[in-house]
Structure formats: C-alpha cells, structure tokens
Symmetry: D2
Subunit: 438 residues, 4 copies
C-alpha cells in the first residue's frame, strides 16, 4: 500500500505545489476565504466527493470574530475577480467559508481530517530574496499573507483527497475532509463542530507544518495547546462636561480601569498555569468630556479547559460588577476560543509507526508551547463521543523564519510527505480485516 | 416679662449649675444616658410636666450606632449604682434614653426645644489646673467625658423647664422640651423624629454652647451644618490557604480595596461641596490566609442633603458592586446621619432681637464649619410641616480649649443667659395677643 | 467723543462685517491661523500701526498643544492658496501666528486689548437655514468652523484699530492690539505673555461675544474663569506575549488604570471646587500582547489658580508613581493652561459707565460658568505689574444656538457696538487731563 | 553497628519520650524557647559536647519576626520559673535561643543535623480524649502548644546526641547538632546560617515527623518546599478631618488599597507557580479622620527561589510607588523567609538504603505540598559549599489529626526509629574506610 500511495503522490506532487502557490498568491484571511473555499469545493466535487459547504457545515451564531459586513462584501468581490468558483462563491458569501468533502465506501470507521485555509492580516516581505517573490507567487492581496502555512495545509488536503479517491476501494468506511476557516484567532472551528460536522467521526486527524522543525521530523500527537477565550468588551456610560457637570457623567473609563486592575488580580490557581490579558483599551473622546464608552480586547488562558473556564468566569463577573459600579452597561462579545486537548497516545503512536514504515521520517517529542489551536474543539467532540483524536506536527524547514513573520515560507517537499502519511494512516484505519481499536 | 424671667433665673442659677456639674461628674456617652435621662424625667415630672420616656418617644429601629447589648447593660448597672431614678431607669433600659416634657396651656402655638444629653468616649484631663478637677466635678466614669457641653445643654433645659412652669399662665399654647440622646455621631435625633415627637411643633429651637465664642455672643440662626451619613460596612468572603489553594478563597480585602479606591473617586458634584471618607479598614486574620472578612467605617457628607444623598447612593452602589466582583456578601449598617438645614431667617432675627432686648448679648455672624448636627432632622420635619426652626449658637468661653479635647470646659455664666433667652423667646411666641407669623 | 467714534464706526461697519465673514469663510483652527494672522498684520500695517509678528511676540517653547508639523505645513499651504498675505505668511510659518499692533502717541498710559483669532475643529452646519450658508460665508475649510465668535473678535479688533488710528491725536499714550492664536484649548496666551507682550500694559481689556445674551447686554468684568491645566500623558513599558511570557512585559495599561483610579480619588479641597478628568485613554495593540504604551488626555481645574495647582501637583505625583509601580517611563506634555482671574472692579465699573453713556447697552451680572479662558494669563501679568485688567462680556444673540455647536452664529450688530465701546474706553483712559488711577 | 545503635536506643527510649513530654508540657513558641534551649544546652554539655549558644551561633540582625521586648522578657521570666537551666538562661536572654553541640573525633567529614524547637501560639485541646491531657503532659502555658511535633524533633536530637557520644570512637570526623528556634513562620534559620553555623558542614540532615504518614514510612529527600518571603508593611501618612480639611491628609489607606490591588495583579510567571497574599490590613482610627497609618501582613511564594524573588522584587517596587503616590512613607520589615531547595538524590538514596537495612521502615514518595521550611537556608548553604543536604520525612501517625490543629499528637514510637536512622546515617558517613563522595 505504501508503494501505491507513493506512486500517486509522485504523480500529483507538481499539481499540489501549484495549488499551494495559488492559495499563497491569493491569500485570504479568516472568514474571507471565499476564493480558496470555492476552489476547494469545486475540486472535491470534481474528484467525486460529496461536498457540503457554508451554512450546512457551520452554525451561524457560533462563528466568532467576523470582520464587518463591508469587509466581507469587499473581499467577496475580490474573490469574484480573482477567479473563485462561481457556483460555490454564492454558497460561501457572508463568511460561510467552511467546506466538507465526504467519501463513503461501505461499512467501517469514519476518519476525519481537518485542514485550515486562512491567511493572516499582515504584509508579506517584498524583497527578491523572499522565495515567493523570486518565484512569483507572493501575495497579490496587499496586507494579507499566508505566514503560518495554512496554504500548505489546504493543498495537502486536496492531495489526500485525490489519493484516497483513486484508492477508494481500499477505503472501508467513511472519510470526511474538513476544510476550516478562521483558525487564526481560534475563531472558526467551534461553528463547524456545533453544526455536527465531526459528530460521526471515529478517528480525527490534523497536521500542522512547522518551519522551525527539520523537514521529515514529526510528532504523532501534540499535547501543548492552552485553552483560551478571546472576547471584546464594551462599557457604555454617559458623557458629561468634566468642568461643568462631572456628576452627570457615567464614567466608562473608571469602570474599565477598575476592571483592568481586578482582572489581573484574579487569584492564581493551585491546579496549574492561568493567564489573563487586556491587550487593548480604547476609551473616551475629548479631554474635557467624561468618558462614555470604553472598549477592551481581553483574553484568558489556562493549561486546561477547566483552568481557562475558571479565569473566564471570574473575568465576566468582574466586568459585570465594574459596569454596575459605575452605572454603565456592559457588552461582551466572544471573538475566539479554544480548548486544551490531549492527543490520544494510541493514535499518536500508530501515526508514528506508519511514518517510520514509510521512511524519510524521524520522531521528535511534542513541541512545547504556550499557543492555542481551535482544532481542539474537534478533538474534544470526537473524544467525548468515544473516538480517538490526534494533532500531528510536521517539519517543513526552509530556513530560520518564524511563523507569523513577513519572511515565513515552508519547504514544499513536506507536502508530499504529509499527503502520504495522512493517506496511509487513513487506509490503515479503514483496511478491511483490521481489528479497529475503537 | 424680661424682669420676671430674670428674677427666676437668678433664683435657680445655683441649682442649674449644680445640675450641670452633676451631669458632668456622672458623664454618660451616647445611648447610655440612663442616669441623666432618668433624672431629667424625674425633675420634669416633679415640676409638673407631662413626661414621655423611652419607646414612647423613639422608634426602635431608627436608633443608629448603638453600643453592644453588653455595654448597654453594664452602663445601665452603673446608672443604678450612681443614683439614677429607679422608676425611669426601667423605662430607659436598653438604650431608650429619650425624654420629652410637655406643658400645655390652652390654644396657641407649640414651641419645641431640643437639649442633647450625651458625653463622649474620651478621657478627661486629670491635672489640677483643669477646673472640673479643681472644683471636684470631673468625670468619675473613666473614659467618658462631657467635652462638648451637652451637660450644660441639659441643665439649661431643666432651667427653662422651671422658668416656663412658674410662668405657665403666660404661656398660651404648648411647650415641648425634647431631651435627646446620642447627638455625638449624629445617631439619636432620627429615632425621636420618626416617633413623631416634633410633628406638632410650630416653632423649633435648640442652642449649642461654643467654647470658642466670647460669652454673650450669639447667633440667632446657624446654617452651616453638613448633611452626613455614617455607616459600617462588612464584606464577607471565604478563607483559603494562600499558598495551597488561593483560588478557593473569596478575597474580602480585594473587595474592600476596590471599594476604597472607587469611593474616593466618586465624581465631584457641580452643585457644591461633597465629602467621602473610609476612616478605618480592618481586614483579615493571618498572613497566609486569604482574607475572609473586612470591616470599613465610612462617612459621606454634602453641603446639602441632596449632595449627601448623591454621595451615599453612589457609595452604596460601589460597595454592592465591589462585593459582587469578588463573590463576597455585603452588610451595610447605618451608624448615624444628619441633614443639612437652614435656620429660618425670620425666627433667627426674632431670637437676636430678643437677645438684644435682654441685654448682655452681642450678635455674631453664623459660625463657618464643616461639622454635622442631627438636630437638623427636627428642623427639617418642622419646616416641612410649615413651621419655623432655628439653631442658636451661644458663646461660653472659658479659655482656648477646643471642643472634643480633654481640657474642654464651659463658662457656666452662659447657662443663665441661655435659660433667659430660650424662655423669653418661648414666651414671646406664645404671648396672647401676638400675630403668629406662621 | 462718543459722536466722533460713532460716526467712524458707522462708516466702517460694512467693511468690518466683511472682515468677519471673510474670517468665517476661511476658518482656521488653533496655531494654523496663517491666513487670518497675515491679513491682520497686513491691515494693521496699512493703517499705520507698528506691527510685530511671530517669534517677536511669542516664546516658542511656551506654545502648547501644537498640531503636528505635517498639519502645520498643510494648513500653511492652504493659507497660501486662500489669499494670505505673502509677506507675513513667511513670518507666521510653523505656528507663530500671534500679531501685535502698536500705536504710540506721546506720554500716557498703555492700553492693551486682546482679540483671539482661532476657529474650532468641527463641521459647520450645511443646511440652508444656517445663515452663513444662506449668505454664502460658511466655512470652505471642511472640518473647521468659527463656532465661538472669534471671527467677530478679530474683526472687532480691526475696527478698533481703525477708529483709534483715525483719532490718534486723542490718544495720549500707547495702544497695543494683541491678536492671539489658539485660545481654544487655552493654548496660545501663555507664549505671548512670556514673550513680554503685555509687560508694559497699564490697562488690559478683552471682550467675548455670547450668543446666549441679548444683543446690547454687557458685563464690564467677568470673574468666573476656572483655572485649568491640560496635559497629555504617555506611559511606556515593554511588550511581551501574554500567553508565553507575561512576566517579561512592563504593562503600561496597568500603570494607566492605577493612575486613572487614583487621579479621580485626589482628595476634595476645603477651599473650593476642583475638577479632574481623564477624557481619553488609548492603550495597547493586540489582544495577546502585554500593553507597552498608553496615552491619556488629562485635565485639572480649580475655582482658583491655587486649587488647580493643588490638583495638578497631585496628578503629576500620582502619574509618576504609577509609572514607577509598573516599571514604565512617563512623559507628560503640557497642552494648555489657564489661570483663574478676577476683573478689577474699578475698571469693570468704568467700562459699564461708558457703555451706559454710549446708549444701547444694558448691564447684566457676570455670567456663571465653569469654563476656562487663557486671557487670564494676560490679566494676571498686568495685575501683577500693578495694572488693571478686565474681561468684558458682550451679548450677540441671533437665536438659541450654543457656542461650539454646528449652528452657532452671532448677531453682527454687536460688532459695531463692541468697537465703539472698546474705542471709547481706550480714549477715556488715555485722555489728556484725566487723573490716571494706576 | 545497627545492633549497637539499637541497643543504646532501647536503653534511652524512655528518657527520650520523657524529654519530649517535658518540652510538650512547657511549650514555648518562636524566639521564646528559653527553657527548652537552656535544657538542651545543659544536656549536650553534660553529655560531653562542645556547646555554643546564643549570639555565638546567631547573627542578631538576621533574626526575623521577633515578639516585642516585653513578650520576650515575660516568657524568659516564665522559663526561669519553669526550671530552665540557670547558666544558659542568661545566654539565651532576649531571643538568642539557638544551640549548637559539637563532637569532634579526628579527621573526617562534618555531618550537620538540624532540630527545631519551637511550639505554636495556639490553644491545646483540653478534652480528656486528647492523650497529652489524659497522660498529663498537655501544655501548661496557655495559648502555646506543640502542634507540629518540634517537641519530638528536639527529643530526637538529644537521643542522637547520646547515641553518637557513646559511640564516639566510631565517629571519624565531626558531628554538629543544630537546635534551631522559630522555624514556624520561617524566622529562625537565616540567623544561624548567616552566623556560619553550617559553613563547614559536608552532609546536612534534618527530619520532620508527619502525623499523616503511617509510622515507619519515610522519604529520604523531600523536594516540595516553596520559597517564601514574609514581611510587614507600614504606610504612614498624615491625619486630617475628613469633613473640614480632607486635602490636608496624606491618606495611608488609599496607598494601601492601591498597593493591594496591584500586588495581586503582579504578572504570572512563565516558569512556574507564584503566590502573593495580603493576609491582613489594619488601617486608620476614626470614621471622620483621613487614615494616617496602615499596616499590612504580606507574603510572597514561588516554586523556586528565583520565582519568589521575582514576586518579592515586584511587591517592594509596588509598595514603594504606592507610598510615593499618596505622599506616605513606607516601612517594610522582614518577618520570615525560606528558600526552595532540592534534597540531593544521592544522599536521599543513602538514607533510604540504611533505613531499609535497619528494618521497620518503608519508603514513600516525597510528600506533595505547598508549605515552606527554613531548613532550606541550611541546605542551600551546604550545597553551595559543595556539600550534600537532604530533608527526611518520617511517619508518626497516631490518628487523623492534622498539623497545626488543637488535637495534634505524634506516635512516640517514631522517636526511637528516627534516633536510630539519623545515628546510623551519621556513622555510615563518618566510618573510617569509606570513600567520602564529597
């Protein structure tokens, strides 16, 4: 089976690299992956997948941290101009950019795979020593850049789709390819999970390329994701002239300042690491007006979901009380969230075993972190239903550039490796005679 | 009439000074004026007044800032030993130390007079250069001292009572002599007012001796009282070991600290002076325990009742929110309050005119201040009912000692002057043929 | 003399109204009054005044609250295009828009007059029911509007200049016409005072039109200005990833929040009204970054200069300590300031007496307020030197529009009245045979 | 050698239990162990040890958290009455209650052992079901109780002293028995370490009885001590009348409240657990007086010494800034401190190996905690000098009573076991032919 898969992978490699460069060139950030999603949906359809797009795979109200309607519309128009698929562009309009491709072949387990598609709102390096510039696939969308490798993830997904479809007969069960929007800011996974997209999944996989790992290095199961909640806060009071009638104001800035001090003072927790931050506060208008409105960008984190919940619950109570204290109203808007999650060791080991069988891979310990990832929503849901889930780290080094920098790029050789690994794990899980460990 | 009154005043002067020295010697502080009140009630009864004492002239729940039941009991026992009137001691037990004496003589206006009876919890100077020591009437009750002249006020009240009873035929109307407990800390007047004691009063008078004014100086109507609310606050949270499980505590000290900062930050008011103070904070037990309980002594003030209400309402809202913020419960206990009040100019002028007719008085402008006085409750009630009220300042200088100091003493010559003034104002108001200005 | 002055005033009225409308049309806000100042300087020169402009009448470092160099340059270019005087535009470049015109005629007192020239950064009402629109003199400079009548003040100044020059022989002494930039935000007077512009003035006058007073009403001496300090504050700390290394940040937002709470908590002052406001706080960048920089717009006020100094000194100490507390550096930049000041009653009465002699005026009591005015710097300097100063209020009602609203306009009839009044007061002060009271 | 030691241990067991009960009966809390220390010094002297007491083994200024001179004197007088050793009582007067006994026998390593002697300020259970009551050795010093087993530690030390002296010939090297005061509150070790008491020690041992472990269970090396700093803080401002002149106060309570909020808000640290607590705040006098003095009891902790230092440094900076912010002075007084420390695994293993050879012991993993122990000062010093140190946990269960409860008691069988273990470890380290690993 390794040979069969490798052969197909060799055949499609150039095409897959082409996809990656196309997505890189037309980078789209969270919730505006109109072109990307429409082309993914088109390709999956063409390959023979049953494809579900947009509202069918996303619960509208659980989408977090959307851009303004104006921004969504502007970028949708851009997608139209940049060659998005006409049919599917209609479906994804308004920020419904999730796509699911399904391959069914009789009885057997369901294997889910998550691929994220969004770029970042940042400027790509324009210097000719930056390979995307030199080889002419740098982003043409100014201020948007694939600086975290999700272009590669999406291309990998299309490669896996082709391999598994060509070997459909060997797949005894169901494959669900989940193309997710807005992973950056941990905004997109929740809406797909709450729409039930992974409810029937027995084995859940996802991978992430790391520019800081040597190509070939992999970790079968990462465990270092912090649970997090991101939310925007608005205190609304009432203005008044600071000299003439200070008592008539309802000072939103006093509410915000009181909240800030008390948020940082949430007690440390005996069970492990917690975090809180008010990264931004924007309050008031003129110097001589009592501040009537204050906006805060807040996040909590915890080394477990329970610890993050502890922080979040305290934060909300503090914010509510601070508003009440200064006669202000309070609005809290969820902007993103992720869970802590542990990869199942059994599944992680299986991935690593197959990698070693394929060859060209070496195993490294789980990367230490402090970051967050909303794929954890999918892991949690699958594990809760009795399934197994893992998050695979894959080396793709092309230099020393960090993620989320203007110089970021990945080693495209990693694409083929990842396609082979994910395909073979799927085929292994769904092969006929095997005792499924579930 | 001046001659008649003067003659009686001369006759009783020695006796009145005796009363004053007796009250000074057996000083009793707020709500424990058991001996004083019982002797006042006895004397009024003996003079022929209709006397109401205790619960009949005080609404129980409106008594503020009472000492503990143990303290009340202990000092009541002291009053028994120190010669309180047996009959009335029963009535005033438990902190019901208000007394009202009524003289009725047919149709005519009702004149009310307020005399406060309480001493202060402080140590009297023991040095022989302190006249009460030299002349053997210093307080025998350690830690209690008449350092604000209320002993003189009470004695004046008994003098006025005798003068008016002897001249009863000249009184066409009703006289109500109100002997009030616990003026210090503005704790006692409200309970007498809410019991209706001054509801039928047409003209309300009270006087205060000032050691800083020359004897003979008077002000017919003081206007400088700040409205105030005094209250005790308790935040109750939950303890926890600060090293082992800090997250399990509910930190009452954090609630208190947040409250303190925000209390002082209540916006200034365009309409005039406001004040706030947390004079005392006592929180927590051991260094390594999350603080589970915090006690605060708070007061608000305003140059008008409305301004004090503004401060008080904001303070309560801040305290409630601070408790909620840190998961604590909140208890607020009223400990005292007073209103702002303006003496009616018409009545004040009348007092001053009579003083000048009596002779030996000179008029000075209303004293500037920053203090509070709960006689304002009585003024407000009478004025609301359409009556007139005034607060008279009377000089009683005997040196440079300030009120509320261990050296305080008053010029006893002022007693006779005050008796004459109050009696003559009452006789003037109740004389037969006069057009009452009400 | 009244007749002579009235005759000239009648002759020039149309021209003066034309000036006012021209300034209104080409409104320029504080420190960018390039066109206005250059035309004023030109006109004074043409009339025969000795004219000093720019650095000669302003100390550079005492100019407060300047716009950015870019903004200054842009608006200077606008002034060039809109017909500013070529010669003087060079002199006022860079925000040196003060102008002083001097008329000397032998021995005698020096009379100073202040006229402010700046408009506000706000949008003028575009509706045809707004007279400046209907009569085609609405501001052509979008976002700048004469909404406080300074266009009228400047025009009045040019009118007074012409009257006095024509009657130069009657002026026995010196006249100094001070055209001041940036009165809004109390930013411009200090630099002219510290350059010595009013050091030799014996009598200092200024007037302000009020749309809320009936035309004809005047107050000879206003006394209600609050002293104030306006300043911008920056806390600079250090950023850090809020999840990965929170301990490495220096949290400027925590410093700012601590400062805000403590600023509002500065104790009330026994001597009178005080004010503090943090009108705006802008802090931080991203949600997951410890905030490295926070900007605050602050102002203090006091009913006297001493009370404002009390607030300012406390504020600075609090800000410094808040910075130190969170390892941040602090920058405080003065953006404006004004003094409290009392008009000299003697001079105010003289103004009112002359107004009544002229006819058409009625006297009203000083307007109650809560605002600030940096003409107080000039009053203070003149009074300190033994001179007399007053601030005259002049009614100019044209409806109910408040100052600083988009609908503001003034009754142009008030221009002639003000010219007559200021001219006649000056002529009265400088007339030959008079005993000067100085 | 085990047999020899066991025989002596059997012989002295009753005597040692007698010591323990004597110390329990005459319990003395930190810095007042006058009787205990004098009797220890007497016994060591009688056994033949070279004994150093008081100032010779303690640096005066490094003693932390001493009681008042009055308390020291009162308890010293108590010790005199309760049969302290006359000679040594003189030496320990004033809180110099450390004792060191030295046994030297030629060349060889130096083995140090720490025994703490202090009781707690708490009331012992008086019920007859409490064994010390039933068997008549409950504390006769009201409000002082050995509720953490230090009576047993001290008795163990005297037992070890006798065993080693009897087997002096087998000791090739030096033994230093360090009897330390004031371990509770981590106050006493620092002063002995800074006096150089363990500077020459190659192997440092200490043990702690745990009522929660089965008798016989031991851990050769505990590693769970949190570093900690305990300190008292005083803000001193200035009082003022809250109604009359609030601006004249320097509000120590505002300083304290600001400090409290910011102390809890010290950023979490990426490297591990940190703690902060203000366990007690006592501020102000009367309700209507601006608070002039505030006292705080504070502690910081960290899972490493570096983390505690991080917390302490931030805390001090915050306190200093809070004082400056409100014009107050600041006093910080160290009241206790401890380090984090790891037992050397090599030495711990050696202890456990010998325990198993002796028999009657079982090994349990290091106890998890959250507590602090100032023996860590000695460990750190010895380890810094190239020596080895360990802290041994020893089970002594007699029921379910927790440490620091009124019902606490220990299984006295553990005394003999501990004597045998510590003696045999010492004899093993100092035996002639052994290669010393140092």
């Amino acid at each position: 089976m390794i040979d069969k898969v490798s052969k197909i992978a060799d055949e499609i490699e150039e095409q897959i690299v082409g996809y990656r460069r196309d997505f890189h060139r037309y980078a789209e950030s969270g919730w505006t992956e109109f072109r990307t999603a429409s082309l993914v949906a088109r390709r999956l359809t063409d390959l023979g997948y049953k494809v579900k797009v947009g509202r069918k795979v996303m619960r509208e109200k659980d989408r977090m941290g959307l851009p303004s309607p104006q921004t969504l519309e502007k970028h949708w128009q851009r997608a139209v101009k940049q060659g998005g698929d006409k049919e599917f562009l209609t479906t994804v309009k308004g920020g419904f950019t999730g796509v699911v491709g399904i391959l069914e072949n009789g009885e057997g387990p369901t294997v889910g795979m998550r691929f994220d598609m969004d770029a970042l709102d940042m400027h790509e390096r324009k210097s000719p020593d930056h390979r995307p510039v030199k080889e002419s696939f740098a982003s043409v969308n100014d201020g948007v850049m694939h600086a975290c490798g999700h272009d590669g993830h999406t291309a990998t997904g299309l490669g896996v789709a082709e391999v598994l479809m060509r070997l459909k007969d060997q797949v005894h069960g169901t494959v669900k390819l989940v193309f997710q929007p807005a992973e950056e800011g941990v905004r997109g996974a929740k809406a797909m999970v709450s729409a039930g997209v992974v409810d029937d999944v027995d084995y859940m996989l996802a991978h992430h390329f790391f520019s800081g790992w040597e190509t070939g290095e992999i970790t079968g199961g990462r465990n270092d994701h912090l649970a997090t909640s991101k939310f925007d806060v608005t205190f609304t009071g009432a203005p008044a002239h600071a000299g003439g009638s200070p008592n008539e104001g309802k000072n939103a800035l006093l509410a915000a300042a009181t909240a800030v001090l008390n948020l940082y003072a949430i007690p440390r927790h005996k069970d492990g690491a917690t975090r809180i931050n008010v990264g931004r506060l924007d309050a008031g208008t003129g110097r001589n007006i009592i501040c009537a409105e204050a906006h805060l960008l807040v996040e909590t984190r915890g080394s477990t979901t329970a610890l993050n919940d502890y922080m979040y619950d305290h934060a909300i109570r503090i914010l509510e009380a601070a508003a009440q204290m200064h006669n202000c109203s309070l609005k809290v808007q969820a902007m993103g969230s992720a869970k802590s999650a542990n990869s199942d060791a059994e599944l992680a080991k299986r991935v690593e075993k197959i990698a070693l069988e394929i060859g060209g891979f070496s195993i490294r310990p789980p990367k230490g972190g402090g970051g967050s990832e909303d794929y954890t929503y999918m892991m949690e849901r699958v594990q809760k239903n009795g399934g197994l889930a893992t998050h695979i780290g894959v080396g793709a080094s092309l230099g020393n550039w960090g993620h989320h920098t203007a110089e970021f790029d990945i080693d495209e050789n990693a694409l083929k490796s990842a396609i082979k690994l994910l395909s073979l794990v799927t085929l292994d899980i769904t092969k006929k005679d095997q005792e499924q460990g579930k």
